[in-house]
Amino acid sequence: MSADNLEQKYKPVHTNKTGGSPFTGITGWIDNRLPVIRMFKHEYLDFQVPKSLSYFWSFGGILTICLILLIITGLSLGMHYKPDTKYAFDSVEKIMRDVNFGWLIRYAHVNLTSFFFIAVYLHIFRSLYYGSYKEPRQLMWLIGIVIFFLMMATAFLGYTLPWGQMSFWGATVITNLFSAIPFFGESVVTWLWGDYSVGDAALNRFYVLHWLIAFLIVGVVVFHVIALHIVGSNNPSGIEPKDTRDTVSFSPFTTSKDLVGMLVFLLIFVAVMMYAPNYLGHPDNYIPANPLVTPPHIVPEWYFLPFYAILRVIPDKLMGVIAMVGSIAVLGLLPWLDFSRVRSCVFRPIWKQCVFLFVLNFFVLMYIGAAPADGIYVVIGRIATAFYFAFFFILAPLVAATEKPLPMPESIHEFENWKKQGKIKTINIFSK
């Protein structure tokens, strides 16, 4: 082989990719070496979003703000809290009474959790109603479900930390869910506890895991957002943007709108935190944990109630646990169970009713989760549980197969015109 041939055979490589920044000066110098500035410009300034987005699309931003505030307040609380069964309860009381602004920081952390779940449920409802889980956004939807699971885990772990009666018995009941695992159940639970009951070892590790999972959420949220920036935002019409008449720049249009949404949401949050800080909590958690006395009524936080109801109404232990976990996991199958090609409920008259019924049923389950576990409540709970699963396994494919969608506009700007002409109705409270 001659030297000439040899050189032709090898393709050039460029391991050094500096350059190509649209910026100059210091910004350009940095951007050529760490291309985050152009990424930010590309993803947040030039990024195009459908112009028909309603306030329902602000909840992603609202959730981000909530997550940041939760981490900041959590960091502050962590500087004063002691994860030891002897001191945990008292250290929380010290935060409430002695630490400068401790009451504010703790009430903010506690109520932000509730508002985080409110925002997440509205965010999930938005996806259900406007078909945001459908092609090509299935993976983004699945990542969202992972975030939801992690949120529930963190919220549960955080709730055990004050070591009140509800903390202790909540921890006992939830960790005992693992004892339903065939054969290894008991060993798994002992391993989780590091003892033969929920105690000091458990509290200490719950505290560590509460931190860990909070940051895992941040990581998975980054994935959720990366996926969003590839598939783009859905919108109330469910139609993909086609040309510049259909879109606006993310900044300043969506950012300013999202800021309004965040402000209104945070104002409501502050009002609740200041005037009814314990309204969403359970008074029994201000009684120190006592392993000998189970409170007559063990009730989880409101955001767990629907799933807790599903657990309780099933008379078999293992099946109850499977149904409870399954009730969340089943959301992941929805993009395939609901195979209708029309995304938005605006054009799906029957599915729209199903979604509203599902929401109503969710509230019924929430009520049942807080009611005593006997009599008529169990019967209602079983019907509601049956409907919950029927929504996914029967209604979704059935409606997708049989429903005749309403006539649809060709594009988003036409959709907007139809809306102005009163030809179509959208959910009014969050539109405009």
Binding site: W169, T190, Y196, V198, L292, H297, I314
Partner: protein, 173 residues
């Protein structure tokens, strides 16, 4: 390496791959086991695993609760009626069939771990449809032998390992 004359075609590289993979697997296993196992109860926790309880002051029909391994243990001095009820129950009526005599050492004394086998709450004594215990969390009913009769709990209240030390003391664990 081109000069491999072994009949089974295995090379030095195959050998190195196998050895490296084995050492790697052993190393990972050796590292993972402590990381998993440190979360289990340690010897100091296990050492606290037995207690002695004085039962001389417990009258017929009374029940005391003691803490063992962080869990409540019910020690109940059963009445004749309780014992009779427990003995007469047909095995067919039980979800987790077990004779009463298999659950006690002395008929008069029932010793069970006071943790509902459903999700770990403490059942309340003298309540429920079978006058044994009733768990307020998810509605499990236990009879006078601590056996599950109704509700979501899968098994009977657990009987801990115990023995009578003298006439008025029980050693649990």
């Amino acid at each position: 390496m081109n000069e491999n004359k072994n009949k089974d075609k295995s090379t030095r590289r195959d050998f190195l791959t196998t050895v490296t993979a084995t050492v790697g697997a052993v190393g990972v296993g050796a590292a993972v086991f402590p990381i998993i196992n440190h979360m289990n109860p340690d010897s100091s926790v296990k050492a606290l695993a037995s207690i002695e309880v004085d039962i001389s002051g417990v009258n017929e029909g009374q029940e005391i609760t003691v803490l063992w391994r962080g869990k409540p243990v019910f020690i109940k001095r059963r009445t004749k009626e309780d014992i009779l009820k427990a003995k007469e129950t047909k095995m067919a009526d039980l979800k987790d069939p077990q004779e009463d005599k298999a659950r006690v050492i002395k008929e008069e004394w029932l010793v069970v771990i006071g943790v509902c086998t459903h999700l770990g709450c403490v059942p309340a004594g003298g309540q429920g449809d079978y006058s044994g215990w009733f768990c307020p969390c998810h509605g499990s009913h236990y009879d006078t032998s601590g056996r599950i009769r109704k509700g979501p709990a899968p098994t009977n209240l657990e009987v801990p390992k115990y023995e009578f030390v003298g006439s008025d003391k029980i050693k649990i664990g």
